[in-house]
């Protein structure tokens, strides 16, 4: 269902100017972030709420503090 009700939602953003693509977020949250062949960082900007803890840990461990997390309780 496209508009399935969820308990809570998280939105991920990455500051493109801050991010230097060290990949620490990939180690912490491999279900949310990944580095692709050309060195770019890809990420799921609306991961499932079950991935909230790993996404938070990625944001905490980011060397450039480039990851933003918005959380909305429903």
């Amino acid at each position: 269902m496209r508009h399935r009700r969820r308990e809570a939602e998280i939105r991920i953003s990455v500051n493109n100017r801050r991010c230097h693509r060290y990949g620490f977020c990939v180690m912490e949250a491999p279900d949310v972030f990944w580095l692709v062949e050309d060195g770019q960082l890809r990420f799921d900007s609306r991961p499932d709420i079950t991935r909230r803890d790993q996404a938070r840990m990625a944001a905490r461990i980011c060397p450039m503090q480039a990851i933003g997390i918005q959380e909305r309780a429903k």
Partner: protein, 531 residues
């Protein structure tokens, strides 16, 4: 926290049962902040007090030597976020004079006494003093705090003359790089014969000096400052190698010492920091944990020798673990066994490491950096066991090798040291290629499938270009080059960042290439030699 559930529910239950009323965190840096956050995550509902000697809320120190000095970020950009409501009392600009662990009492300025039920020590380190340096001269600065960085920025605005950096560690090297980026002359004068030798080892440390020299830094190694000449027009430093170097400003970055003066007489074991058991509990008290730069503990993942780990990531991870241990209590707490990680960026070259490279008595060249386009990877081996990995411009390979290192350490931890050899057997190779298949290859199934279901790089587009899925984003658009041939031609440049080396093949990932690493060059030739 799903992976920690059994321990955490116990910890929470204990917390509720024992109901410690007040936990005081001394040290308002990164480790203290993350400890506070973890305490609330674990449903500690009592009073939480955070005492900091600086007047600032916790901030991102690694940026001081780079983005803040360059003016790319302002002090307000450096403040950390907390991902849970802390509901803490902040006592900033407040030194703690003494602690009485038998009465569980802290002594604060003005005769104030503060009782605690649990204590988290997170006071970090302070810059080491260089004997003979004129610290009363405003042109001679250290770089540990935001206020230090502001003073250095003021000093640098006075002129455009040369800057001398004394020291050879992370801070010294990064400041020298930043000074060059500002278009000014930079000198490194280090007592040590190699740069960043403790983090990188001898061979890489030697190559790092070449990177600095290639970028115009005047590097003097194995030297002391014999004389300081301070004149109105500037300063001159007489080095023990006979050189006289001129300076508008001098940055002292000669290492740091644990900030433990306030713990004298506390009954805690103070030997190069706060000595802790494997769980982060301080030796000599029951309700005290320590974390971050100040803590010295045995990381049982490697061995039983207590060490301090001054890496930034350790402040995050140890702060969190110390909070868990404090709530769990000494008997039920788990050992803290992180895989240390670090990074640095100098002259637009990213270096990053995992494990404890300093333990290695040998280095090996590791495969897999080719996928990152001209990077290099070195493994550090002790008794035939991989104990650390350092990569230059190789983030993707570092993700894989960090996982591999973790796996190898896990396997060897259960065997007698030295029994398990790094092998290139078929079995290991197969397991490695299975385990080390990168996220890019694995993550295309499920909800993250790209529209056409392919995982070719053509389907992965940067921000600003066409998005490949409703919620998929990419970062690094400005670094991708449309023309792969042009990129390939540039690949041997030491400053090259993320480039597309073409599709990575899994056969390029044997576990360890036993070829002895003669030297790890940062030069143009080096990039080719590594691949």
């Amino acid at each position: 926290m799903t992976d920690l559930d059994p321990m955490l529910s116990r910890a929470s239950a204990d917390a509720a049962a024992a109901s410690p009323e007040r936990i005081v965190i001394v040290g308002a840096g990164l480790a203290g902040l993350r400890a506070a956050e973890r305490l609330r995550e674990l449903n500690f509902t009592g009073e939480l007090v955070i005492i900091g000697a600086e007047r600032h809320q916790p901030y991102h120190r690694p940026a001081l030597s780079k983005q803040l000095l360059l003016g790319e970020l302002r002090p307000s950009d450096l403040l950390f976020e907390s991902y849970v409501e802390l509901d803490a009392q902040w006592r900033l600009n407040t030194p703690v004079y003494q602690v009485d662990t038998s009465r569980r009492m802290l002594h604060l300025p003005g005769g104030e006494e503060m009782r605690y039920d649990g204590l988290v020590i997170a006071t970090g380190v302070e810059p080491r003093h260089l004997a003979g340096s004129p610290r009363h001269d405003s042109r001679v600065v250290q770089l540990r705090t935001l206020d230090d960085a502001a003073q250095l920025r003021r000093q640098l605005r006075h002129g455009d003359g040369p800057v001398v950096v004394i020291g050879g560690g992370f801070t010294a090297c990064e400041v020298a790089s930043t000074v060059r980026q500002m278009g000014r002359a930079a000198t490194i004068a280090s007592r040590s014969p190699v740069l960043m030798g403790r983090a990188l080892g001898q061979k890489l440390g030697r190559s790092l000096a070449e990177l600095h020299r290639a970028n115009g830094v005047d590097v003097h190694l194995g030297v002391k400052v014999l004389n300081w000449f301070r004149e109105s027009w500037g300063m001159a430093l007489h080095l023990s190698d006979g050189h006289l170097v001129l300076a508008d400003a001098v940055v002292l970055a000669v290492g740091s010492v644990p900030a433990t003066a306030w713990l004298r007489g506390s009954g805690l074991a103070l030997e190069d920091g706060v000595l802790c058991g494997p769980t982060c509990h301080a030796v000599g008290a029951n309700d005290v944990v320590a974390c971050g730069d100040v803590a010295r503990w045995p990381n049982l993942r490697f061995d039983s020798t207590p060490r301090r780990v001054e890496h930034w990531t350790n402040a995050v991870e140890m702060g969190r673990h110390a909070a868990e241990s404090l709530l769990a209590g000494q008997r039920s707490a788990r050992p803290y066994t992180p895989l240390p990680r670090f990074w640095t960026e100098q002259h637009k070259t990213r270096l990053q490491g995992s494990g404890l490279p300093a333990l290695g008595d040998d280095t090996v060249r590791l495969a897999g950096a080719a996928e990152d386009g001209g990077g290099g990877l070195v493994g550090y081996v002790k008794d035939g066991r991989l104990v650390g990995v350092v990569g230059r411009e190789a983030p993707r390979a570092m993700v894989r090798w960090t996982a591999e290192l973790e796996e190898q350490l896990r396997r060897t931890a259960t065997r007698a040291p030295g029994r398990e050899r790094i092998t290139t057997t078929q079995r290991t190779a197969e397991r490695s290629s299975a385990n080390l298949r990168g996220p890019a290859a694995d993550r295309t199934s499920g909800p993250l499938r790209t529209p056409d279901g392919e995982r070719s790089s053509g389907a992965l587009r940067p921000v600003g270009a066409e998005r490949s899925g409703p919620y998929l984003r990419a970062v690094g658009a400005e670094r991708s080059r449309p023309n792969l041939r042009a990129v390939g031609a540039e690949r041997s440049s030491p400053n090259l960042r993320s480039v597309d080396p073409g599709p990575a093949s899994e056969q390029e990932m044997p576990p360890v290439d036993r070829t002895r690493l003669a030297a790890w060059e940062f030069s143009r030739d080096g990039a080719r030699a590594m691949n």
